[in-house]
Structure formats: structure tokens, C-alpha cells
Symmetry: C2
Subunit: 228 residues, 2 copies
DNA sequence: GCGCGACAAATCCCATAGGATATGGTCGCG
DNA sequence: CGCGACCATATCCTATGGGATTTGTCGCGC
């Protein structure tokens, strides 16, 4: 539908396969492409207004993420995703993210803490103002900075994967999420400043599980798990 | 080097991008392509004897796995992987796999248990005989069946990712691994038969951590973390 | 000698065309 | 009504090419 090949001035923007991948992720989680749906590369290419090449590359990336499955010579299908799967995945994400917060509480120096306060202030400001697009970006930057502060690079990447299941607009316009987020960030920063790993861990786990509840509610709302 | 496009009778074999992906994984973990190395699609295509298209698709899959990183308009680089990263990742894998074993201990019925015994017997037999290739396949089948018996599909997939870091030949010819594996499988099966989740969990966690130690030792041996 | 800007070469990224191969459906036959 | 062969369709990979961008080199001025 919408032209993806637009701008011309790309800068360091992700390449086309990555944008197609994101697009497909959103369509799957939006309930547009339910589990079991066949994805035909050529058909998708026409719909997205690009050539089959980047579409196939995006599908390979989604396969590596188990979002779709490859059936050799028969195309791709959207992978199953039960309610229990979401619960399990976010339980793992919560544990890891909590661990990262705990490590950050031990490792963080004054400079890093100041940087996190700035990020958190940006999120708060955008929540006050109400700028959905920028809010999602600010929230991601806050968490990225926090996870990076833990010093565990690969674990930080691993939890970043959870964001794949939470496209921006699923939470930025939720009033409940906004208020909970402000409170969670405050608790987190206090714990980090005090060097209190346990409190930081608990606050972060709760924050992640809030995201889980939001995703489950969304998927139920769009009929992701309805019969046929 | 070796032609990947060989057989002609493919059956249900994975498609070319998936085979290229595996090839690249092995070359990275073998220390042939160290972190920071630039990967040029066209160059790799020539080396592997395939066209650039499936190579690019494989690189996109590896990017989704954070094994390589994409630099738009500049190609791909092998992602960093510190010793601490491996420790962290396998700590997570051990916890999850242990959880799956515990669930299996609760959920397994007589039929499933019998199937697992058959798989374990196949592994034992191959260890006696000494058939590296088939052994890796049998081991994978045993664990796949066990993970599937837990009923947690997504978690089962998640731990399957750990196998990406353990190409077959890294363990099948290790005497220590063989004896430890036979013992671990026996303990596991006994715990599953007795419906003892805690023992199953502990046995599985130990089994995974054995794999971790093997990988770390291998990476040190091939100079993966040597200077420059 | 050193930094800096312009040109040239190399490379990536994506589009497109085409052929080999496997799949799924359809039709005819037993 | 079940079953096997044929045919249309789609996938998968190759090959090629062009536009855009980055990188490397050279020469100039300071």
C-alpha cells in the first residue's frame, strides 16, 4: 500500500529489508496476519510496493526470530503464538531485565546516572505533552541506556527482542501505561541512585510484566486467538 | 570453498539461505571470522559458490540473531561476543531448559516417556559405536522431544537457539562430554519417570552448563578472544 | 609536513528477468 | 469412488544492471 521506498535522504536509516520486517511484524501482531496464514513473497512485494528481494530477506530475518516458519518450496507461514507462549516469554524477559537493572544498580556511576535521569525526564515530558511517536523512541532510549549500563551486552540485546512484540502504538496511547511508567521509572531511578539492586530488580520486573499484560489485552482485543 | 548447491535431490532439506547461514555460523564460531570482521556479501557468494541473493538472506537471518550487525550501505560485521556474554547467555539457557525439564516431569505420560527412552537409547548406542554426525542429530532429537513434551512451544524454540552456538563437531568427539551425557540422560529419564521436577531441572541445568564449558574452552582454544 | 576537498573506484542495495524444480489441483481412468 | 498422470502456478536461485553512497587517493593550499 504505502510506499516504503520513499525518502531519498536515508542517512543511517535501516535498509529496506529491516523496514519490511518491521512492517510484517506489526501486521502480524495487529491480527491482520493470523498464525497459520501463508505469506507469499511475490504477493507481499506487490502489496508493499517493493521487489521480492528485500521481502525474502525480511522473511528470513523473521524466520530466525521464529515469527514465521519456512516451508521449503512452499513459502512461509505465520508461526503459532498461544497465550501461554506470551506469558512464558515475558516471564523470561522480566527475569533478565530485572537482572540487568540489578547489575546496573551496582555498576552505575554518577555520570551514567545523570544520563538516565535525562532520558527519564524526556519520557516524562513527552507523556505530559502527548507525542506518541517520540514517546516510544524516548522510552526505548531510556531502557537501552539502562540495559547498556549493566555491562551485559548480549543480555541487553536479548531483552531488546521483547520490543519486537510491542510496537509503539500498542502502549503509547494507553493512559494506564503512562501513569504506571512514570511511577516505575521514578522507583527505578531511586533504587539505582541508592545502589539498591533488589528494589531495582523488582521495579523493572513489574514494569516488564505491565507490558506483557498490555500485549495480551491487545491480542485478545484484535481477536488474535479467536476461532478461525 | 565447498559447493553448497550440490545434490539435486533436496527432498525437505532446508533451503539455500539456511544452509549458508549455518555455514557462516560455523565459520564465526570456529574463529575463522572474528568479531569485528567485515562480511562482504559478494565476496562471500564467490567463496561459497552461490549467488549473492541467498547470502544476503542468510546475513539478514544472522542479523536477527545478533550474530552479525548491519551497517547500512557499508555491509555487515561479525558482532562482538565476550566471554561474559557466553556465560550470561548459557545461564539463561540453563534456567529455561531446566524449567522445561521440570514441566515435562509433571506433564509426561507413559507414551511420551517411552519415546524419550528410545531417543536416549539411540544416543547411547551411537556413543558406543562412535558415529559423530548421527550422534549430534540423535542428541538434538532427544532434546527436541523432551522440550516439546513440556508443552511450552516458544520456550522450546528459545532454548533451541543455544544449539546455534554449539555446532556438532564441537562436542560429539569430546570424550568427557560423551560420558557426562550418558549419565545426565539417565538421571533425567529417571527423574521424568518418577515425576520428580526438581531432580529433572537440576540434571538438565547441569547438562546445559556442561555445553557452556565446552563452548568456552573451544573458543579459547581457537583464539577467539586473542588480541587483534 | 599536514589537513582538506574533489574526483574516481569499489561496493552495497534493490530491481528485474528468466529458468529449473517442486507443489497442488484437475482430469481421466480403472 | 479412489488413484495416478498431467499441467498451471509459485518458489527458489541465478544472473545482470543501474542508482546511490561510501571509501580511498590525489592534489592543492596552508
Amino acid at each position: 500500500m504505502v510506499a516504503l521506498v520513499d525518502t531519498g535522504l536515508l542517512g543511517d536509516a535501516p535498509a529496506l529489508p529491516e523496514r519490511v520486517e518491521l512492517q510484517l511484524r506489526e501486521r502480524i501482531l495487529a491480527g491482520d496476519l493470523r498464525p497459520g496464514t501463508f505469506l507469499r513473497p511475490d504477493r507481499l512485494a506487490v502489496e508493499l510496493g517493493v521487489s521480492p528481494t528485500p521481502v525474502r530477506e525480511a522473511l528470513q530475518a523473521l524466520r530466525a526470530d521464529d515469527m514465521v516458519r519456512a516451508l521449503p518450496r512452499r513459502g512461509f507461514v505465520v508461526a503459532p503464538l498461544e497465550r501461554g507462549d506470551v506469558i512464558d516469554l515475558f516471564a523470561v524477559q522480566a527475569r533478565i531485565t530485572g537482572e540487568l537493572a540489578a547489575r546496573a544498580a551496582r555498576a552505575l556511576d554518577a555520570e551514567g546516572l545523570a544520563g538516565l535521569r535525562v532520558r527519564a525526564a524526556e519520557v516524562d515530558a513527552l507523556i505530559e505533552a502527548g507525542e506518541p511517536g517520540d514517546l516510544a523512541q524516548a522510552e526505548r532510549r531510556f531502557h537501552t541506556a539502562l540495559n547498556r549500563a549493566s555491562g551485559a551486552r548480549k543480555l541487553a540485546w536479548l531483552v531488546g527482542r521483547a520490543a519486537h512484540y510491542l510496537p509503539p502504538r500498542f502502549y503509547t496511547d494507553r493512559r494506564a501505561w503512562r501513569t504506571a511508567t512514570v511511577a516505575a521509572h521514578r522507583t527505578l531511578l531511586d533504587a539505582l541512585a541508592a545502589g539498591d539492586p533488589d528494589t531495582a530488580r523488582a521495579a523493572m520486573e513489574g514494569h516488564v510484566l505491565d507490558g506483557r499484560d498490555l500485549l495480551v489485552a491487545h491480542l485478545e482485543a484484535v481477536g488474535f486467538w479467536d476461532e478461525t
